[in-house]
């Protein structure tokens, strides 16, 4: 309800908004019969209710940006502006936003607040909203479907099954939004490409693979939000003809449920570039240079290891496979792009009993999968010049 009382926002973010209290209907704050009277009046004469709660400013991306643009100010951390999440400007400067061409623009509500058709809501219909009309018989979905599919289950929220289903579909790119289907691509939100030498692998020789991750359908950086605990990572496996695993990066440790850079090596946040697997993340530092592990971002004085992908852009990671001399080909490379809402270490530190007590363990969602077969030549080919990496 607070969102709906916002009447004025400033583009500077950090909750820079003005709340204007709505005028009350008779009995609106009461209960029992008084509340029923208020409900009747609101449905019978919704004009004032709409004027107070359905302000046109709610249609603007700046409205969302009032909160989805954050920095840690000097009053909190002593050091001054320390950038935090800023989905608003990431979207505003992306190819999804065409300032002079609203028809080609997709903004926050188009994706995260899709239309619900055949609505019985008195507020259905919106004459001034692009791609809508006053009598379209629809209202906007207020689930703000994005990535948060875990806490609904933990808290046993009403309609959680539906919420979780929608979120899973959203993350795996299965969601189709009819009103923007002509602008919003189908398929995975972040497709993968596996590049390898066009000449294939050579038994006994190292093989270099490049896995490319693209931010294809996300309107802001991928990932975005609290980078200290959101996690997206590549799980890459290389197997021989018999299914034997030659190399693996990005698996989950069965004991700790941490991400493994390699078997037995737990991923250290912020070190995804140097070795191991690609992990999209960020690491906030406090004034002593220590990693902030419990999301106390008011202590943030700096950061490291930040790796995200701007809309439309791509990132890549190199994987080097030790191909045995006795390997039986072809090799199969499988790359999965996985998502978790929380860094496991964060949950273990902050709410150590939550998963066990609720009986809900945070899921790992595979956003995208790609596979590639690579032929293996014998070592006599090793002296030949190697071809360029090819998709």
């Amino acid at each position: 309800m607070v969102c709906h009382t916002i009447s004025h926002v400033d583009q500077r973010g950090n909750a820079d908004y003005v709340l204007t209290p709505p005028r009350k209907y008779v009995g609106e704050l009461g209960d029992g019969a008084a509340k029923r009277v208020a409900d009747f009046l609101i449905r019978a004469y919704p004009r004032q209710h709409l004027a107070d709660y359905d302000r046109n400013i709610l249609r603007t991306p700046e409205f969302c940006g009032a909160c989805h643009k954050q920095f840690i100010p000097e009053a909190l951390n002593r050091f001054g502006v320390s950038p935090a999440q800023n989905q608003f400007d990431e979207w505003r400067k992306s190819h999804w936003n065409h300032q002079q061409d609203p028809d080609s623009t997709l903004s926050c509500r188009d994706c995260h607040m899709r239309l619900v058709r055949d609505s019985r809501d008195p507020g259905a219909g919106e004459a001034g909203d692009l791609r809508r009309s006053a009598d379209d018989g629809a209202h906007r979905h207020h689930g703000a479907i994005a990535t948060n599919l875990f806490m609904a289950d933990v808290l046993k929220l009403p309609h959680r099954e539906e919420f979780t289903r929608l979120t899973r579909e959203w993350l795996t790119g299965e969601t189709v939004i009819p009103e923007i289907a002509d602008l919003y691509p189908k398929g995975p939100i972040a497709p993968l490409e596996i590049h390898a030498s066009a000449d294939g692998a050579v038994a006994g020789q190292p093989l270099e693979l490049q896995v490319v991750v693209r931010n294809r359908k996300i309107g802001h950086a991928f990932i975005t939000g609290p980078l200290d605990f959101l996690r997206v990572w590549l799980h890459v496996r290389v197997t021989d003809r018999d299914g034997g695993v030659l190399n693996e990066w990005g698996a989950i440790d069965p004991q700790t449920r941490d991400i493994l850079d390699e078997p037995g090596v737990i991923h250290q946040s912020g070190r995804s570039r140097d070795s191991g697997t690609l992990v999209l993340e960020g690491v906030p530092l406090d004034e002593a240079g220590r990693t902030i592990l419990r999301h106390e971002l008011w202590r943030k004085a700096g950061g490291t290891g930040q790796r995200t992908i701007f809309p439309g852009y791509a990132d890549k990671q190199v994987y080097r496979v030790a191909v045995p001399a006795t390997v039986r080909g072809p090799l199969t490379v499988t790359a999965e792009l996985n998502f978790r809402r929380y860094r496991q270490d964060f949950l273990d530190r902050v709410v150590p009993e939550m998963e066990r007590a609720s009986g809900v363990f945070q899921p790992t969602i595979t956003l995208t999968t790609a596979t590639r077969e690579i032929e293996v030549g014998d070592s006599s080919a090793a002296a030949q010049p190697r071809g360029a990496l090819a998709p």
């Binding site: 400033d10 400013i57 002593r78 505003r92 004459a127 691509p185 439309g312 990132d315």
Partner: protein, 610 residues
Amino acid sequence: MSRAQPTRKLTPRQRRLWWSSAATVAGVGALAALVWWIDRARDTDRADARAGVSVEFARSVAGDSPLRFTDVAAASGLTMRHGVATRHRALPEDNGSGLAWGDYDGDGDWDLYIVNHSGIAHHGARPGNTHRLYRNNGDGTFTDVTVAAGVGDPDAFGMGATFVDYDDDGDEDLYVTNRGPNRLFQNQGDGTFIDVAARAGVNDPLWGTGTAWGDFDRDGHIDFYLCNYVTYDSEGLEPTVAQRGAGSSANPYEAPFTLNPNSYNAQPNRLFRNRGDGTFEDVTARCEVANPDGRSLAATFVDLDGDGWLDLFVNNDVSPNRLYRNTGGDFGPDEPVGFVDLSAVSGIADPRGAMGLSVAEIGDLAGIADGLPDLFITHWVTQENALYFSQLGAAGKLEYRDKTRQFDLGEISIDRVGWGCAFVDLDRDGRVDIAVANGSTLEQNEDALLLKPEPLFLFLNTGTTFRDVAPASGADAARLYAARGLAAADYDGDGDVDLALSCNQGAPVLLRNDSPTNHRSISLRLRGRAAFCRGAKVEVASGGRNQVRWWGADVSYLSMHAPEMIFGLGASTQADRIRVIWADGAVSEIEHVAAGAVTLDHAAAKPERK
């Protein structure tokens, strides 16, 4: 079977009642219809949704400007073009190159060296571009002397350049960083140069970018720190001419991973100690300043904490910046100089995409004029620039406060990709302003082979905040550029600061300062060994204000400002005092200095008091 109902006649009273009831119903109905119609007419759904949206940052743009700039590059003979005609969508090309002012021929005016490259080799025929050295003719024009000087280097993939007299023979040598072996062009004193990089041990083969020059160990010889960027291992994998436009669900916009610096491993930096015999020793490991996880683009040697020893600040792209404190003063003359990483504890371990770096004291704006260097750093789009004010804590702990937003430099820079920058007094009013070269690395929606050009920033210091006056400072200052390098110099000797820009896939820009003003200035040069000049602290007191800058510490992006400082005097006609604390601790001080050119010689300075 129906039965006919008998007709019943209404009494007059009943008839009146019926009619009045019908009229009442009709009246209520008409009233309801009127209310409905008025309500519909009042429907505010179509009202401007943005009426409640404000953009307070807009106030940092000024409607008028005391500045006027005119692009005189072509007219003055700077006619080269940078890079390749068609982009290959490759990070090395899009990062661009810089430019450097220096007096290579010792005639007293500023010559210009513009760095160039011929694009990614893998894509076939290259245009054979060369760097260019333009000799200042002293009359507002330049002559291309590249071939005669021998500094064209057509095979190089050039990035940055610095004029510096590394061998103390009295003329300016030239160090050029490349994506590949760097060059040290030794000035032969006759207008020609010879590359001695291999012999001097400074032909580092990595992707060199910015350099920081300073005598960090105070042995009297100029040393330098070399920034290296990333291992670009995608040569030939760049998508060719696939042009994709946004707006189609079947064919959405896709930028290649070859434009993302995060796709590549960082390269370690180098610290080279000058042995004094024309060669350098790589002391990186001993001094622990390799910064192996930093994608470094710029660095400066400057005494950040005021202890007399040059500290090192490193700008890193999408990896945290570094502050290495020089501990040389802590352990006595027999101990080797060491560096301590204070990045996080000082508040500058910032992982944004840092490009350009400028240094000056601007603490008076925030009421904390501590005489220590403050920092301005340009960033990538959506990340806003940073303005760090130094602050010494009670225990002598050095910290920085980012006051970008407080001084209206934040929101306005979110839209741009900032590169070269300079703390300069553009209107000679005695307050230091900021110039920023912008140019997006985002591709145009309509044609992915083109990058989005952007306007400059000319932030005028009003005494309480900054205002961008570029849009009102003449057509050439308001134009859009794919700018990268920025180097300031009074190239025409008229006492004000002119700005040179290098532009990707374009001609250089020389913005001559034609601002109408009665303000006078001091044009200060230092004479002495590079080891004494680089990092020297210069204070100019005038009109009740004390301006403080550090010689050679403002390194921009892959560029070098002219080694001459222009201090505006505002309404004054003289400086009350000029004080220079040379990098070796010696002090020069003169008083009541009339506006105009001033040269201070290290030989006449008072030695440091021990």
